[in-house]
């Protein structure tokens, strides 16, 4: 299936954490205590977490669960900034990391607007660790591990277009939802889409991510570079020849006046 995506409906999540276990099972990751809970935190051994958030919904205090993992951007920042091309986008759209090519600059970690990639700090030859959207399962036409185990229907797997339609249909059908699909435009769009009845920033999703994708922001700079190199070469070459000649003439004039100087 091309153009894979997942819709996460915050209002349907019961916080069971099945997705975090499925992720660990499928990816052979060691278990730690931080996969779900109030202090859940992504790290090199935990690629997806279910965070608990005590949120104000209007006047009510409510408990909401937010699953976090790699957002699988349509135009991933990490892919653009990786200086060893170790991160690539698969045919299905999964953003996948290749440890064999990685040099370990960690630019992906700092360049990811969601700070998803994590590092194996305690290893001699560490890898960057993050959700891979179970790329090999996608290639076999299966759904990712986390979405396949969700008992409450909070995670829906499908193509991005279908899921966007589905998300907006749900929002239109129920006025309780926030009028926004998170991930539709963030950083040029992501493959993980969120809909919620409480503000996204209360769920740990950054709301200040510009619509323009980071790769295109960088490209706006990079695109000038060849011109600048060529232009600078031409200008400097010409200037160099011109000023050299001018200095030579000046020196000759000065020599004519009797001075004797090195250039």
């Amino acid at each position: 299936m091309k153009d894979c995506a997942v819709l996460f409906d915050v209002t349907k999540c019961v916080g069971c954490g099945s997705c975090t276990v499925a992720c660990k099972m499928w990816n052979g990751l060691p278990y730690e205590e931080n996969a779900h809970g109030y202090d859940a935190k992504l790290d090199d051994k935990t690629w997806t977490v279910v965070e608990y958030h005590d949120v104000k919904k209007g006047k009510e205090d409510v408990l909401r669960f937010a699953k976090h993992q790699c957002m699988h951007c349509l135009e991933p920042s990490c892919v653009a900034v990786c200086f060893a091309k170790a991160i690539t986008v698969s045919d299905e759209g999964a953003v996948v990391y290749d440890a064999k090519k990685c040099v370990g600059c960690r630019y992906c970690m700092i360049g990811c607007p969601y700070s998803v990639p994590k590092y194996e700090w305690d290893k001699v030859f560490p890898s960057v660790m993050k959700c891979r959207l179970c790329a090999e399962k996608l290639a076999k036409n299966e759904s990712p591990a986390c979405t396949s185990v969700c008992p409450s229907g909070a995670l829906t797997f499908g193509t991005r277009d279908d899921l966007l339609d589905e998300a907006w249909a749900r929002i239109k059908a129920d006025s309780g939802y926030i009028q926004k699909v998170y991930g539709e435009t963030e950083g040029g769009g992501t493959r993980w889409l969120y809909i919620s009845d409480v503000p996204f920033k209360d769920l740990g999703l950054p709301e200040d991510i510009p619509t323009k994708s980071i790769p295109s922001t960088i490209h706006d700079y990079t695109k000038w570079k060849p011109g600048i190199f060529v232009g600078a070469a031409a200008v400097f070459g010409a200037l160099g020849l011109y000023t050299k000649r001018r200095v030579k003439i000046e020196n000759e004039q000065r020599q004519g006046e009797g001075g004797k100087e090195d250039v």
């Binding site: 019961v14 916080g15 099945s18 052979g28 001699v124 891979r132 759904s143 797997f157």
Partner: protein, 541 residues
Amino acid sequence: MKERQKIQKQKKQPQLTRRQFLGAAAGVTVAAAVSGCDIVEEPGGSGWLPTQYTNEGNWPAQVKGRVPIDPQNPSIERVDSACILCGQCLEVCQNTETVYNYYELPVVDGFICVHCGQCALNCPTGAIREKSQIDRALEAIDDPDKITVATISPGVRVSIGEEFGMAQGEWAQEQMITALRELGFDYVINIDFSSDSTIMEEGSELVHRLTSGGVLPQFTSCCPGWVKFVEYYYPELIPNISSAKSPVAEMGAMLKTYWAKKKKIDPDKIVVVNIPPCTAKKFEMSRPEMDAARRYWEEHEKKKYSGMRDVDVILTTRELAQMIRNQGIDFMSLPKGSFDPIVSEGSGGAIIFPNTGGVMEAAIRAAYFLVSGEDPPEDLLHLEVLRDGDLDGYAEGSVDVPGFGEVKVAVCNGLHAARTLCEEIKAGKRSDLHFLEVMTCPGGCIGGGGQAKTVVPPSNGLRRNRLASIYKADEALSPEKRVSYKNDEIKALYDEFLGEPLSELAELILHTEYTDRSASLEAKDTKDYVDPYNGERGEVQ
């Protein structure tokens, strides 16, 4: 205690010395760098998932995922590393107990759980288990200032033996008493005593409701899971629940008042360790209103014991077995022990408490006497109709009581049946019912969430063995030993301390109140209940 330390020491794993590590690291690094071999594995995709998940897209499946468990849940916890997402916990929570998926999403402000522990009992890998209080028990035992009182709930004695190789349901009460003494408990007390006091209170309450036109049907209140279930889903039926506490809660309060006074023990030094077959007791123990003893001392004796709780520690059958094993006690070869007197005598009615229908049977024996003033006839001592022989979760019947007429009673085990009945009661269809007993766990407490995991998932065969063993113990007694109101120690309790059932003091120590929890969830309209997987619309059976 020394042996315990030894065991802990043995568990410590051997550590790599720094020198070994340095050498190995350097060697591996240099060798790898020189040879250029792959020292880094590709992360991810190397694992496994149960086959029901290897399918396309959002394939519908009957069994998916697992139940949500609050990390703060006082009764149960889950170890993620052992969970295999088999879905058994969800199965039992949703279909047997009708808790999961019977509330609307999004959740309101917390996890919905009645603490029954059936998920733990059904978990094939032991990922879900009771939240252990073994450490608290050991701490109290090791503290020379504390007087530890172990109280044994009736369901445990037909299950604990299974942990040590006995036959299913084999009676192991006497060995258990000895084991508890060897573990270092100062007193071993039988909860059967407070089961009888519960019957006296609950039976009196029923008689009161029957004769003075109170809210009917009366619900039993022994099962904390059931009580919380009503508080969640049927707050309008809370007045139906008997205000009598469960035997465990009553025992805690009585030990720290009546018993402490009789034994001349400072109640603050008493640590009540209850051993039920139940995980929900851990929740019940933590309910804020369960401090009747503290209130008694404050109101009647002007003594302040701040923070004193009626029950201090709850150990499930499995935890007790674990303690016995840890201590290296050979359970099978233990001599028989006996309970400490004053609050340990129990009638046959109390013995059958852990069976489905047992509370009802015991209550009928007592109510018969309370209404008619006569001993119940022989056939009332064996109410086969209420014993739910096919274990389908529901039984009902009626008893003719002289002086009142026909008393109609029903028995539910498993909340699925209880929910159906509650819907009917809510709809006004069951005004004929007078008394309803509900046990959250299938088969009653003998199939409790804290019982030995002899068969996973627990089978009806196992439940029948345990039920039979309990009934056998009751039937072995002479008829006057099988009714609560002829319990000598109970008589002494009322003569010396409480006065009479439903007296002011009895209300303080043996009765409680309930909390409306319906704001924590938005109950699904079960008429419109749609199974999320097969999409069928229909009523709960």
